[in-house]
Amino acid sequence: MSQRLINWFKFASPASFYPLAGTLWPWFAGLASVLCAVGLWISFFVAPTDFQQGEGYRIIFIHVPASWMSMFIYCVMAFWAAIGITFNTRLSGMMSSALAPTGALFAFLSLWTGALWGKPMWGAWWVWDARLTSELILFFLYIGYIALTSAIDDPRRADKAGAIVALVGVINVPIIYFSVKWWNTLHQGASVSMTKAPTMATTMLWGMLIMALAFWMYSIAIALYRVRAIILERERHATWVAELPEMQR
């Protein structure tokens, strides 16, 4: 048991994680492109046209995985934040800050595609639906995290402050979701239920799952790539960085 623990903590050091991330990220990037190609092919050519929504429904192949990822990445960010606070590891903070832009990107993507989908389906670019609203707030939380960590010059302090924001945010996300949901039902606005849908064809479901997997792989690849850049930037005065083959040139 203790042997295994030591093995895990070995990669908590930026010096040993940097080459590991370097070997891993091209694999994830490759998987992401293959899965994305397959997923897009299924979603555009194989999946049948929806008899109610027509061709426009195909945007969900991007939209749904993007919103899943935006929520999931926030949880992963909070996980690394918690690890960073409890074990005081430097790499955890770097992972959090490497994930944040991707999460914000997916939140934005899901809002954008949601608007594109909403216009033909609901006849409005934006409705104050509980899901849309909480996704918007999630986007704000990402922006707050990024703004705070980039405003603090000392990277260690930025990581720790960011960790607290991420943890406070993750506690608040369910509260915000339920409050928005209840607010929405009270107002009885233009609420169109998206909750009771999933009687979709199997090919559609497959397309969506493959796209979700592709987004997963993309997120892992880009996070590893970005964390490598962050490691180099922060450890540029360390000897092991100077001894790297790519630094010799």
Partner: protein, 221 residues
């Protein structure tokens, strides 16, 4: 407990010596609330409908305006460092500071809100509910705000950053606070909203001083 009361007393005394800061936030609240009828028009039916939201949003902004001074002065003159070294848990002292902040920034809003509510043609009953919702909600604003204030201590562009961090977290309080008055206007009863607001307050009282303390320790490193 003595230290807690001493902190509250000290912060209240400091606020009393610098009255202008307290009154600036109050007048800001009044001005923001009074701008809405000018922008929207004087029909009392419309005003009655938007009143809870407008009053709550203005309270949110006014409470946020005064958050900057929660820790900044103590950080500058080193008092905060001494506090973190004292044998009393820092979380307790932070709670004292938050309570003092609420007494100087939140409670005046609660007392002022019914007067401003009259401008919006709210009934006496709605004004009462508005007061109760603000009474339960403004401490939540101070508690969550303390986390943000501690995190942005001594950070470039702290003021704007603070609003970016804190305002999304204020949303549940806004929804339940304004919702209580609206539910009452719609004849649904405000009990549920007020209970949830109370639950938020209980959660915040437990967790927020703790998180703010962690953030302060980071700022003091």
């Amino acid at each position: 407990m003595n230290a807690f009361l001493a902190i509250v007393r000290r912060d209240l005394l400091l606020a009393a010596r610098r009255k202008s800061e307290v009154f600036t936030a109050l007048f800001f609240f009044m001005i923001v609330v009074s701008l809405f009828p000018l922008g929207i028009g004087p029909e009392s039916a419309t005003l009655r409908r938007i009143a809870p939201g407008v009053l709550w949003v203005a309270a949110l902004l006014a409470a946020m305006l005064s958050l900057n001074r929660l820790f900044a002065a103590d950080h500058q003159d080193g008092t905060l460092e001494q506090m973190s070294l004292s044998p009393t848990p820092l979380a307790l002292l932070v709670s004292g500071k938050v309570l003092a902040h609420w007494l100087t920034a939140g409670l005046p809003l609660v007392l002022l809100a019914p007067v401003l509510g009259l401008q919006f043609d709210l009934s006496a009953r709605s004004l009462g509910i508005l007061m109760i919702s603000l009474l339960l909600g403004t401490p939540v604003l101070s508690l969550i705000g303390a986390i943000g204030a501690a995190l942005t201590l001594g950070v470039r562009g702290g003021g704007v950053l603070l609003s970016l961090l804190v305002l999304p977290l204020y949303i549940p309080a806004l929804i339940f606070g304004a919702g209580a008055v609206e539910a009452d206007l719609a004849g649904l009863g405000a009990g549920g909203h007020l209970s949830l607001l109370g639950a938020l307050l209980a959660l915040g009282m437990f967790f927020a001083p703790w998180a703010a303390t962690a953030a302060l320790r980071i700022a003091l490193e």
